[in-house]
């Protein structure tokens, strides 16, 4: 390598590391380490506080103390809790999430099988909520307090008032039982049929996505109305003769989208949390179902792994939110003075 080429490479590298966005990504990824560690310690601690352990849960109410003790020895639950946590952590940092206390299966294998289901469900719910919320909020904000706005407000408040498991049951009653247009339970893998896969996820993703849609609609509509009614740049644009739709879409929506992105980013963990219940109702073999079963059987290794996955996803979602700010507003330069 010539001195010129090496200098050029150093220059590229230096520029890359000097980039505020790259530094932001790096910082956030570094922050993910203590966050994940903290979450895993908290989870382990809380699960240890709950009465009973995997041995007792597995053997049930009929088990004798001798049977429970034998099972505890078999599962390694006789060791002190901090030692068990360190054992787990030692494996996790080397990429070995261990084996399920209950089934003996590889935890990584179980996560791999189920992550795709939950990932798809969350993605679809996310798309459903945003694809519906943006146009409805825009239309409502275009003519505030008119019929469409009031109707959208009614729907939003209604949707926000219904727990997603109730909504899930109502959706099944209407669209699966009454009209038989979507399946009530089950999951068709993407590898089996793309159409079947999407079809099987419509109701579960709607059950999660509709309350989110209502929240986003209310939030975005309120912010848009606020922008349209009180901001100088809107008045200026209107004074220049820019049409109301253009002002709404090109100016007000761009500004309001910052708030929306923040809310969406913050709500991702709510979205993931909802999968735990919705996967039970729709018999979906996802991560939420796995985590609930693992909590019920106090299968610490599986619960820890699920929680860590959720924590990492939450950290990444927040990172993505921050990066989107920079993409949407070139004035934002992280780390610049």
């Amino acid at each position: 390598m010539t001195a010129v080429t090496a200098g050029r490479h150093r220059g590229v590298g230096a520029r890359l590391f000097a980039s505020p966005s790259v530094r932001l990504v790096g910082n956030r990824l570094l922050m993910a380490i203590p966050i994940t560690l903290g979450v895993s310690i908290l989870t382990f601690w809380v699960l240890n506080l709950i009465p009973g352990n995997a041995a007792q849960q597995l053997l049930g109410a009929d088990a004798t103390p001798e049977q429970i003790r034998a099972m505890e020895l078999q599962l390694g639950l006789d060791k002190p809790a901090p030692l068990r946590y360190l054992d787990w952590l030692g494996g996790a940092v080397t990429g070995d999430l261990g084996r399920s206390l209950v089934s003996g299966q590889s935890v990584a294998g179980q996560l791999g099988e189920r992550l795709a289901v939950t990932g798809e469900l969350v993605a679809m719910a996310f798309v459903v909520s945003l694809v519906l919320a943006v146009p409805v909020a825009l239309l409502a904000a275009y003519r505030p307090n008119r019929l469409f706005d009031r109707l959208s407000m009614f729907v939003s408040v209604t949707g926000l008032s219904v727990a997603n498991y109730v909504l899930a049951l109502v959706l099944v009653l209407v669209f699966a039982v009454r009209f038989a247009v979507f399946p009530a339970i089950g999951f068709v893998p993407l590898s089996e049929s793309v159409g079947g896969n999407l079809h099987s996820l419509v109701l579960p993703s709607a059950a999660i996505g509709i309350p989110m849609f209502c929240l986003y609609t209310r939030f975005l509509r309120g912010d848009l109305v606020d922008q349209m009614q009180g901001q100088d740049y809107v008045v200026t644009a209107q004074a220049k003769g820019v049409g109301p739709w253009r002002v709404l879409l090109r100016h007000a929506f761009r500004n309001s989208s910052f708030g929306l992105i923040t809310v969406v980013g913050l709500n991702l963990s709510t979205l993931i949390g909802a999968t735990v219940i919705i996967e039970q109702i729709f018999a979906l073999p996802g991560l939420g179902q796995l985590m609930l079963q693992a909590i019920n059987t106090r299968d610490m290794a599986v619960v820890q792994a699920c929680v860590v996955v959720f924590a990492v996803v939450a950290v990444l979602a927040n990172l993505l939110t921050d990066l989107l700010y920079a993409v949407l507003d070139p004035r934002i330069r992280y780390g610049s003075r």
Binding site: L59, A61, S103, T158, V162, L173, I185, A283, Q293
Partner: protein, 532 residues
């Protein structure tokens, strides 16, 4: 919000298919029911909180929840013995299945089980006495609570000829055969497959000699089975494919059945949904014969129930007949002992049983200077309803009652602490000596008993070892009388879960009545069929 929901629910309520049956089966359905048809597939839903949870897999030696997973285990392994009954649940008896016959010798101290000839596991290896003995020894060392506690002599399991297994006990153990269908020793795994696959793989894809073989198994989520072409019964199983799916509760399962996404659901216990299913007429509703009545266990080892007057006050203050009528529209019978109409040795009444007598209860409470009771239960729909009703009834007698709904782990802690007062639990089994039988709630040695009474222990031991059914009946009747006389625990509602099936699905234990083994009945999956 309410308007929208009401509108949705209104639509759903009117969603009955106008062509569907609304009560009695239509003529074509009735005639079809008599002629089993071959082929087809069904999906069976199981509650994720019980039968739909098989986290440790389906190896009889390592499946700690085997008692809950009787459906899956029966479909894969078949069973040495099965509990069968008439369609109405009458004349229930344990009948040999993979076993051909059995003999009780030496007054019940020796049992010889002769196996059917020509059975093979689905991997083609022989189902013989050696394989059975290998499994019995392996399963008896298992951690499952469905592992029976056999009083075996040293090396008490042996082979005689190539087709007979011999069990030798230290004392008469006549109820051993009745205990088979609810224990893991009933399920015989292929020793060859076990060796080839290893424990971890075998628990996921087990190999037995039952009517179905495993296609795929996602633990506690979905088990897909297909017909075992080497099944030993000619022409069976009827179904080509059988899928079990875990689902989050009665409501979701009911809706999935109505939507046609599944064909059966075992073990529904939400009474309003049962009634809705019955009145809707779109599903076949089969209530199983009850075998285990609810009992208000009173901890006679500690205050306040170490005083017999306090226990008597509870008897007199309790009106289970009113609860059965008011809350459950007489859907469930009321027992006065640890047996129920679907089980062995049941008698409708116990002479001298203390029924509801509010004045007497008040008088006793006054004599005691007041009575404060903590009543707990392991919650399900029926138990919670009954507990609240009891609190109200006891309040009328001046008994101050605090109710608690326990999780499994905290319930166990309560029992182990010995500080509990009263627990609403179920007692008994199809055979009182088998499985979670009467001794579980009343024997001195059980951690889940509120009674320490040698006389009662002796009666249970004697009944367990007695060969003659009439003599056993007499002993259990005496034990029931003794519990009543001593006011150890008032018995009540004999609840049994219900199966829901789509029209056109038929099968013993699914659409006919077979007494439940552990909550659910042992469905004979090889005879389940679907009309097309």
């Amino acid at each position: 919000m309410a308007v929208l929901l009401a509108a949705f629910l209104g639509i759903a309520a009117c969603s009955g298919d106008p062509g569907a049956s609304t009560g009695a089966a239509p003529a074509d359905e009735t005639s079809a029911a008599s002629t089993p048809q071959k082929g087809g597939e069904i999906t069976v839903l199981e509650d994720s909180a019980f039968a739909g949870s098989w986290p440790t897999g389906l190896d009889p030696a390592t499946n700690t929840t085997g008692g809950a997973n009787i459906a899956m285990m029966g479909a894969i392994y078949g069973g040495l013995f099965l509990l069968t009954a008439n369609d109405d649940g009458g004349d229930a008896k344990v009948t040999p299945n993979q076993a051909e016959s059995y003999e009780l010798l030496d007054g019940g101290k020796t049992v010889k089980i002769k196996l059917r000839q020509g059975i093979t596991f689905s991997d083609g290896t022989a189902f013989d006495a050696e394989a059975v003995v290998f499994n019995l020894k392996r399963n008896l060392g298992a951690t499952c609570t469905c592992t029976p506690k056999w009083p075996l002599v040293k090396d008490g399991i042996g082979v005689e000829g190539g087709d007979t297994v011999v069990l030798r006990f230290t004392r008469p153990y006549a109820s051993v055969i009745n205990a088979f269908p609810i224990s893991n020793v009933n399920w015989i795994a292929s020793p060859t497959a076990l060796k080839q696959l290893g424990d971890d793989k075998f628990r996921v894809t087990p190999v037995g000699a039952g009517p179905f073989t495993v296609v795929s198994n996602q633990l506690s989520s979905e088990l897909v089975l297909e017909r075992n072409p080497q099944y030993f019964k000619d022409g069976l199983p009827y179904l080509d494919k059988l899928t079990f799916k875990s689902i989050g509760g009665d409501q979701a399962a009911y809706q999935a059945l109505l939507a046609g996404q599944a064909h059966a659901y075992e073990g529904m216990n939400t009474v309003p949904l049962m009634e809705q299913a019955q009145s809707g007429g779109r599903l076949t509703v089969t209530m199983q014969p009850p075998t285990s009545p609810y009992v208000v266990q009173l901890n006679s080892k500690a205050a306040p129930f170490d005083d017999e007057r306090a226990r008597q006050a509870i008897y007199y203050a309790t009106d289970f007949e009113a609860i059965a009528k008011g809350l459950f529209k007489d859907r469930f019978p009321v027992s006065q002992s640890f047996t129920a109409p679907g089980g062995l040795f049941h008698h409708d009444s116990v002479p001298g049983y203390r029924g509801h007598d509010l004045d007497r209860a008040k008088q006793l409470v006054q004599e005691l200077g007041g009575l404060k009771v903590e009543l707990g239960t392991l919650g399900n729909y029926v138990a919670k309803q009954v507990m609240i009703a009891l609190q109200t009834q006891w309040q009328e007698a001046g008994i101050t009652t605090t109710i608690k709904d326990y999780q499994l782990s905290t319930l166990v802690q309560q029992f182990n602490s010995g500080k509990w007062h009263a627990m609403l639990q179920t007692a008994g089994a199809w055979d009182p000596a088998a499985g979670v039988g009467v001794a579980f709630r009343f024997a001195s040695t059980s951690p889940f008993s509120g009674v320490a009474d040698k006389a009662l222990d002796d009666m249970f031991a004697e009944a367990e070892g007695t060969v003659d059914p009439a003599e056993r009946d007499a002993i259990y009747t005496k034990a029931g009388q003794y519990i009543s006389d001593k006011a150890y625990a008032p018995f009540g509602l004999a609840f049994a879960p219900t199966n829901l099936t789509a029209k056109g699905v038929h099968g013993p234990g699914l659409t006919t009545r077979i007494p439940p083994l552990v909550v659910n009945s042992g469905v004979l999956w090889d005879e389940v069929w679907r009309s097309r």
